[in-house]
Amino acid sequence: MDLQIWTWVLVGITFSLYIGIAIWSRAGSTKEFYVAGGGVSPLANGLATAADWMSAASFISMAGIISFNGYDGSVYLMGWTGGYVLLALLLAPYLRKFGKFTVPDFIGDRYYSNVARSVAVFCALIVSFTYVAGQMRGVGLVFSRFLEVNINTGVIIGMIIVLFYAVLGGMKGITYTQVAQYCVLIFAFMVPAIFISIQMTGNPIPQIGFGGQDANGVYLLDKLDGLHRDLGFAEYTSGSKSKLDVFFITAALMVGTAGLPHVIVRFFTVKKVSDARKSAGWALLFIMILYTTAPAIAVFSRTNMIETVNNKEYKNMPSWFTTWEETGLLSFNDINNDGKIQYLADSSKNELIVDKDIMVLANPEIAGLPNWVIALVAAGGLAAALSTAAGLLLVISASVSHDLIKKMIKPDISEKGELVAARLSAVVAVCVAGYFGINPPDFVAATVALAFGLAAASFFPAIILGIFTKKMNKEGAISGMIVGVLAMLFYMLKFKFNWFGGGTKEDWWLGISPEGFGTVAMIINFIVSIVISKFTPDPPKEVQEIVANIRIPSGAGEATH
């Protein structure tokens, strides 16, 4: 069967599945809308968290980034998984015991202040909007490549689907759709990986395969290191970033992960404290499957690509080469006019430009796998992008309808009114996200780092200090968050957008990149919070009792407002 038909069939089946689940799990109350009624099982929550977490970036881009950066790509692997240890050990159980609907809820109540709540709402909105724009773009990209529709039409189809199940089902609909989406995306990610691992190393387990030998008995990683040396790239297994920077970027991604509101909120949906711990464990187990496979795909596709194209006649290239050239993600310029493709690190002689997103999407084609496997990758990419987009949209709508309207502007709003407000803000959020998907601002890529940096600089210290110290007061937490966020914004604007005089790599403080600066901003937040709290009054007695109470797991009760 033809690839187009396969793709329509698989995308059609999965989309109708999502819509079916949405109709079956409509939300009837605000509690169902915000936290799925608080009765999700740890296993289902783990699956949903994994789908929520693994975005278009994890599915489509990450293996490609690792493929081009080798060892340096490890920051994403460790950074985006290590954060779950922090979540499970330091945040999730206590936030569940606290029993609220949103992260700003915790910040606002623990620091007995609407100023703190507003700062938290502001951060939650920036982080989520930054993130969601990239997801809609991912949906458009997959549609345009695999279904040959216009990229904007793709974004609009994605918007309608998300709108349907996020607005109708709220957290309840999203949770059960995400369970299905995890299954789709992991199947789609693993099938080609297993096929290619067998092809290249004879081992069906990619995690072991990429440490194995090729048909000639040469270790694959040694072969790739050799190819890299020959073409003038840094050795694949060694990388070229400074150690200090790798350290700081990894830390910023870990702490940022633990501070992302759409991840934290998933732990409000389970029944009790021990379930919150358990779901973090399940979540990381399900994430681990993809994250340990991605570096294997990176090695397979890098080796395959170099061997297929380098020093080969352009006119003999397989058909996938021309299809991807048409999308503009692959381009060839015969500088020395010899009709052959030279792929080199030296940009004055290099004739081939490859976009990193191709590595996962084109990998099955490069390896010559059957059409249904290629179509499966399209369905998987869509599942990854849609599930993350939906989780983010929920955070945005809850921030508006719950944290802003219910808690600050109009506290006497009825349950029904709040639910309507939640649905309306979800609709507005989808439209804004769609707009950014169709007209992507060029700062999207730069701002994803900002999203993690901001989460690390704002939420993480405020939540940790709120749980692990009884004496942290509103003055300390608010000034810490504001100084942390401003430091992060300043560094990012200076080095990514050339504000405040701009600057180049040489001007980075201690050689720390803007991506790694979240760690510095987080440390600044901790220091400012602690120092200020020493000179200002202790929090009221009731608040200190709340802190004592959240440390004890029993009697978690139900999530309330």
Binding site: G212, T237, S274, R551, S554
Partner: protein
């Protein structure tokens, strides 16, 4: 629950946290970043060990750490009758 029990419960929890987070730190920042060059001189099949920890080993250890914590805390909760 008595205040003294609450304190003991919390102290044990903090002890677990510090042990598990030290392991978390060592496998990722230690083996995967700071000591990566030293470990890379050791090979495990086709993998250089430092590279393996950065791209595989640390992630496995993270997952195991969470499940160990779940186990430890379920036991601790049972000891203090907090597993309602």
């Amino acid at each position: 629950m008595k205040i003294s029990d609450q304190k003991k419960y919390w102290k044990t929890n903090l002890k677990y946290l510090s042990i598990l987070l030290s392991i978390w730190f060592v496998v990722s920042y230690g083996f995967g970043i700071v000591l990566v060059d030293e470990l890379n001189s050791i090979r495990m099949g086709g993998f250089k060990l430092g590279f393996w920890f950065a791209q595989q080993g640390s992630i496995y250890v993270f997952t195991i750490l969470i499940f160990v914590y779940i186990k430890l805390m379920n036991k601790l909760d049972a000891k203090y009758n907090l597993d309602s």
